[in-house]
Subunit: 235 residues, 2 copies
């Protein structure tokens, strides 16, 4: 996944990334900017946006506040950058599947897996909440545009799937809302110490979306046999 | 539905309810208390919790602020009451299906329909957001307990459905998160001027959850025929 993302910090767990890059050998500006954004996302998750100061973020990175200001304009700008870092893997997934010949349901599933993984990443909370009064009108518009692009992309893949026969006929708008809602909500319950990774949760969700609750004819015969698990889940 | 709910104001659209009951003939305390809670929910939806004052709510009801204080202690208490009013139809649905003999998937669907309708009601936003730092620790704990009861109730119905063969074997915890997430997210996109009612949206969502994206063997043959809609949806 990392190969697809040049600029924004990659979503997902990377424990080493929490170490201050001012101590690391590779001291280029981009790595430091990414570290600032990642530290901000973690602080927003932990303390909430309003309760986090640039001082907190500087302290987490073991640098001075002016150093943080060298990379970002203000806290609002940081929230915006966290949002961009979160949605970039989803946008990259759309680009990746665009020219693939696979049935649309498979292409949709690939996007949804990246989507779920992104929401379960440290940027998930910012992705899901960075829209309201915390942002300038210009940033808010930008975010709405990107969210709308993602929504329209999902609807298009659903329409294509109904067309190519890989997706059960359905209402693309409502179906896109249901899928995105289930995935967005991951940000409300997922914690990094969860036993499943973001990728594993995303895979389980895609299985649920695909199969539906009503038993398929083949499995219906076996429904009273001992449960077979679709994925190993601890509770 | 109204017959099931005695105390909290019923979720769902009822345009007449916005008229001040101080002018109505039936002037009992309960009706007025419900009107205060409903007016608060509408104000929180429109202006956000932090930007709404008890003055705004009093003005919407055309009464004085002391009159509002006669029914509720403070704004925090109002948010809490809005949450309770929102979840009550879901709790009532659980009670209603408890002793039914129908397959568990049908009982689950009945609960999910009430759930979706509640989130699309004027209390939806309060239900979904009333948990964080806006509430006292005691209220917050109470809300967490009620949310957990609903979550556990959904998981139990899923387990029962896998057991009685009406639900495809799945992970109950992850499936409950996916279903509730999709429904909770309705509060983020649904507006009262939407062309579909809350009940219609809930019904479409239940159809999506039940069927899944992957075509069923019977419909697979016909997937390239002109689309048949599961529900009439305007876009």
């Amino acid at each position: 996944m990392n190969s697809r993302r040049a600029s924004p910090p990659p979503a997902g767990k990377s424990p080493a990334a929490s170490a201050s890059p001012w101590r690391a050998r590779r001291r280029d500006r981009e790595v430091k900017r990414e570290a600032v954004i990642r530290a901000a996302a973690r602080a927003f998750n932990r303390k909430g946006y309003h309760n986090t100061s640039l001082d907190d973020i500087a302290a987490a990175l073991e640098v001075s506040k002016p150093t943080v200001y060298y990379y970002v304009t203000n806290k609002e700008h940081l929230l915006f950058q966290c949002f961009l870092a979160g949605v970039e893997p989803i946008r990259a997934a759309f680009r990746e599947v665009q020219d693939q010949q696979a049935p649309a349901r498979e292409r949709l599933n690939a996007v949804l897996r990246h989507y779920g993984e992104a929401v379960a990443s440290e940027f998930g909370w910012c992705m899901v909440r960075a829209e309201d009064q915390d942002l300038s009108p210009a940033m808010s518009r930008h975010i709405k545009t990107l969210k709308s692009e993602i929504d329209q992309g999902i609807r298009r893949l659903i329409r294509d799937g109904v067309q190519d026969g890989s997706i059960e006929p359905c209402d693309p708008k409502m179906t896109a809302f249901a899928l995105a809602g289930a995935l967005n909500w991951i940000a409300h319950w997922y914690r990094e110490d969860q036993s499943l990774t973001g990728a594993e949760i995303a895979a389980v969700f895609v299985t649920i979306f695909e199969g539906g609750l009503r038993p398929r004819s083949a499995s219906q015969v076996a429904t009273r046999a001992p449960l077979r698990r679709r994925a190993r889940i601890s509770r």
